[in-house]
């Protein structure tokens, strides 16, 4: 074995031993689980202040009480998936891609899944959304309540 072969073998060993650096996580997504209902007096959880104006627009204006059930934050890189447990099931998020556009907000490709408490998938959507905009999957719960999951990524 001559010297050049030794060098090549060493490089291969180093390549195996040294792990490649992790992909840069550059998108942080905020997930807020909300329970909506109708009461005698409107009530909005102070933690939901950022969504207050949205709640007053249809179709969310059909409820007047919004309660935060929980929240999670997922930091994702493109083609990376994350999950968070909900009070009413399980939430899955996939960051499919990031489209940087000059003069416009970055466009994010998201895959959103929601499973109910029984583990049954009730929502599976692919959506394109600008960074900072909200996507709110909503479904009814017994008792004329609503189950909302507000998702925004930056």
């Amino acid at each position: 074995m001559n010297k050049s072969m030794l060098v090549i073998a060493g490089a291969l060993v180093l390549g195996v031993l040294v792990e490649p650096p992790e992909a840069r996580a550059d998108v942080t997504c905020s997930i807020v689980e909300i329970e909506a209902s109708s009461g005698s007096a409107p009530a909005i959880d102070p933690d939901l202040k950022a969504l207050e104006k949205k709640f007053k627009r249809p179709p969310l204006s059909s409820w007047n009480t919004f309660k935060k059930l929980g929240g999670a934050s997922l930091t994702l890189a493109p083609q990376q998936a994350g999950a968070a447990n909900l009070v009413h099931g399980k939430f899955g998020l996939l960051l499919r891609d990031i489209n940087e556009r000059p003069g416009k907000k970055p466009r994010l490709g998201l895959g959103i899944t929601i499973d109910d408490t029984a583990g049954k998938r009730v929502v599976d959507i692919k959506v394109g959304v600008d960074a900072g905009d909200y996507v709110i999957p909503a479904r009814p719960l017994p008792g004329d309540k609503g189950h909302l999951v507000a998702v925004t990524c930056k």
Partner: protein, 179 residues
């Protein structure tokens, strides 16, 4: 005549010849003295003439020497300047030293430079803030198991971005969920 010139002995001469010889000799003395006086009178003029001849001889000798020397090439301007500087090295050095001394003295003894603060009002054109335009959310695919869906878009009326509400209506609502 031979006896008068001293070429023949005077003993062989008669009384008459002796008188004639004495007269010739006396006449010769007179002529000789006269000539010597004339020569003495002409000596200053002859001396000036000799100087003139000598100077003319010097002038006449100079062209004769020229063909002997090799014809010298005309030096270039730079060479002439350098030659001049080399010839006047001491003058140039003295001039430079004097100029340097004067400059140093004027800098050392002169007034210190004063700083001037000039206040100018510059009008900066107003920079328009960059507005990042956006697009409403767009549902590319929706898969709902045991239900149907409706997409509502809440516009960006308040400047906080668009919102997509995806309302999922299941065929049957589990009566136990959420209780």
């Amino acid at each position: 005549m031979l006896a008068a010139d001293g070429e023949a002995p005077a003993t062989d001469l008669g009384p008459e010849a002796r008188q004639t010889t004495a007269a010739v000799r006396e006449l010769g003395e007179l002529v000789r003295g006269s000539l010597e006086l004339s020569a003495d009178d002409a000596e200053p003029r002859l001396a000036g003439l000799w100087d003139l001849i000598e100077r003319r001889l010097d002038v006449a000798e100079a062209p004769a020497a020229a063909p002997v020397a090799a014809p010298a090439a005309r030096p270039s301007l730079g060479a002439r300047i350098w030659s001049w500087l080399a010839g006047h090295r001491s003058h140039v050095a003295t001039g430079l030293l004097s100029a340097g001394a004067v400059a140093g003295l004027s800098m050392a003894l002169g007034p210190a430079p004063t700083e001037k603060v000039v206040v100018k009002t510059v009008t900066v054109p107003a920079v328009q803030p960059t507005v990042m335009t956006g697009s409403p959310p767009e549902v590319e695919s929706m898969e709902l198991i045991g239900g149907s869906g409706t997409v509502f878009t809440i516009g960006d009326d308040d400047g906080d971005g668009d919102t997509a509400v995806i309302w999922v209506e299941p065929d049957e609502v589990d009566p136990t969920e959420g209780i």
